[in-house]
């Protein structure tokens, strides 16, 4: 049981879960938390079931007021209870307590509430897809005045550590060759790319030298989160959770799943390099 009211939050604050599966045939993107590993850590910390929804936020932090006693957990951002900075990543709030959460340390941070969050399940998922107004709360971003309410309780299991998202100089990403790998005529394993500004839940753009490619006409075919597309401009884009179901650019690679969460947390300007697993 818990109930909180949002006093303040940024424009990219959405309810997400593991994602929406089985609806690609209707053109519905997968969606789901960008950093699945961090989301699962929050869920586990709270003792919630693995398919539970959490609140994902980017760019800005949020302020909440407990309307009823509630247990919350936050990973990826620091937070304070009634102005006192908390060292633990979870906190038991009493009605009237205020929670101030800082902006994410990396790109995405996650807040969960113990119990079953009351929100919309659409097509078997709570994940919000803004472009189609699906899931979450009326398919939109959370905003001031929204209530976050949970039913039933769960047992906090503490001692969960936050997945490391400090990458240092270079983040290495493991990929396998994609179906159109042979279109690429540059040695991408030797190139450092930087995370571009045009990055969001749909895709992450990579800045680097113009890559060489052979002329290749392809018709649209299936793409999934982690698909690395080579654009006509010679730039790369890595598709992320809200990507479309099909695409018409050469798929030169596919990122390993565990590295997709890592890439999601790479800040603009972070240097990345690909390791090719099956050359």
């Amino acid at each position: 049981m818990g109930k909180l009211r949002i006093l303040k939050c940024g424009p990219i604050t959405t309810i997400q879960d593991e994602g929406r599966f089985g609806y690609r045939k209707y053109g519905i993107p997968q969606s789901g938390a960008m950093d699945q590993e961090m989301m699962h850590a929050v869920i586990e910390l709270l003792g919630n079931s693995s398919a539970s929804p959490v609140i994902e936020f980017a760019l800005a932090g949020l302020e909440l007021e407990a309307i009823e006693d509630s247990t919350v957990a936050v990973l990826g951002a620091d937070f304070a209870k009634n102005g006192v900075k908390q060292k633990s990543s979870f906190s038991a709030l009493q009605a009237g307590d205020r929670l101030s959460v800082d902006p994410p340390r990396y790109v995405y941070a996650y807040l969960g509430i113990a119990g079953k969050l009351l929100c919309q399940m659409t097509m078997n998922s709570y994940s919000t897809l803004l472009s189609a107004k699906l899931g979450g709360l009326d398919g939109r971003s959370l905003r001031k005045g929204d209530f976050l309410q949970t039913e039933s309780t769960s047992e906090v299991t503490a001692l969960i550590t936050e997945p490391s998202r400090n990458y240092g100089e270079l983040l290495k990403l493991q990929m396998k060759a994609g179906p159109e790998w042979s279109v690429l005529r540059s040695e991408i394993e030797t190139i450092s790319f930087a995370i571009g500004r045009a990055s969001n839940r749909t895709g992450i753009s990579l800045e680097g030298p113009i890559l060489k490619q052979i002329d290749f006409e392809m018709s649209s075919s299936s793409v999934i989160p982690g698909t690395i597309q080579l654009l006509p401009s010679g730039k790369l884009i890595v598709l992320m959770k809200d990507c479309q179901t099909t695409g018409g650019y050469p798929r030169i690679g596919q990122l390993m799943r565990e590295d997709l969460s890592k890439l999601a947390q790479a800040k603009v300007g972070q240097k990345v390099r690909f390791t090719h697993l099956n050359a």
Binding site: F21, G22, Y23, R24, K25, Y26, G27, I28, P29, T122, M123, L129, S131, A132, K133, L134, K176, A177, G178, P179, W181, S219, S220, S221, S222, I224, G226, T227, Q244, T245, T246, R251, Q254, M256, R257, N278
Partner: protein, 227 residues
């Protein structure tokens, strides 16, 4: 790169494992939509519950499954669809109301083709169409069947907001917008019925492979429909 060859539904395919849950069947030839939909239906029947999702597109079929390529080859190799596998399932032709008074670019389409606005509408309403694939945005369905005399290049500057139900022409492609959103296609008319139904199963009014025809309604009928 682990490419494997598969003989399935009298066609040659290469199998490509995109990731641990997604296997692509790629056809090397020039696959007709009839054969594509037939093959897609046959894969669905053969893999049943072990198929989490399936995405057909022009020359390929993506299977979402935990089965490995070896298992997929064993299940599919040499299988052939009955001729009427599709017809049994999709024999009906849907009729969809359309209001041409909401055509934002009918003049442009007429000019592109040296036709009058009336003959553009006549040509469009008398066509027979088939839904191909969802894509571009949730609820959007590409279709075939556009008359060669209605082809018109995309707008130079896409509109930031197109209403759900708008019927678009982009070059030789056509499709219906299931949701409000940006778009660069010429809008010839709008349908008053919701095509994207998130709470329904299936969530699309017109499914890939469905045949459909339009019938014309007036602006008054459209507005009544909406209310």
């Amino acid at each position: 790169m682990g490419l494997r060859l598969l003989q399935f539904n009298n066609l040659n395919w290469t199998i490509f494992q995109l990731d641990e849950r997604c296997i692509l069947l790629q056809n090397d030839g020039d696959l007709s939509f009839d054969l594509l939909f037939q093959s897609t239906e046959l894969v669905s029947r053969l893999l049943k519950d072990q198929l989490e999702d399936i995405v057909p597109s022009y020359q390929s079929i993506a299977l979402f499954t935990s089965l490995g390529t070896q298992e997929i080859m064993m299940r599919l190799e040499g299988q052939i669809a009955e001729k009427d596998i599709i017809r049994k399932k999709q024999s009906t032709i849907r009729t969809i109301p359309i209001c041409y008074e909401y055509g934002l670019d009918t003049d442009r389409i007429a000019q592109c083709n040296g036709l009058t606005v009336d003959s553009v509408i006549d040509l469009h309403v008398s066509g027979s169409y088939r839904a191909l694939f969802p894509g571009f945005m949730p609820g959007f369905v590409y279709a075939e069947g556009l008359s060669a005399n209605l082809i018109c290049p995309r707008l130079e500057t896409p509109r930031t907001q197109i209403s759900a139900g708008s019927v678009g022409i982009g070059g030789n492609q056509t499709g219906i917008y299931g949701l409000d959103g940006p778009g660069g296609w010429n809008i010839i008319g709008r349908v008053p019925i919701p095509l994207f139904l998130p709470e329904s199963r299936p969530p699309l009014h017109v499914l890939p492979g469905d045949k459909f025809e339009f019938y014309r309604i007036s602006k008054e009928e459209f507005d009544q429909w909406e209310s």
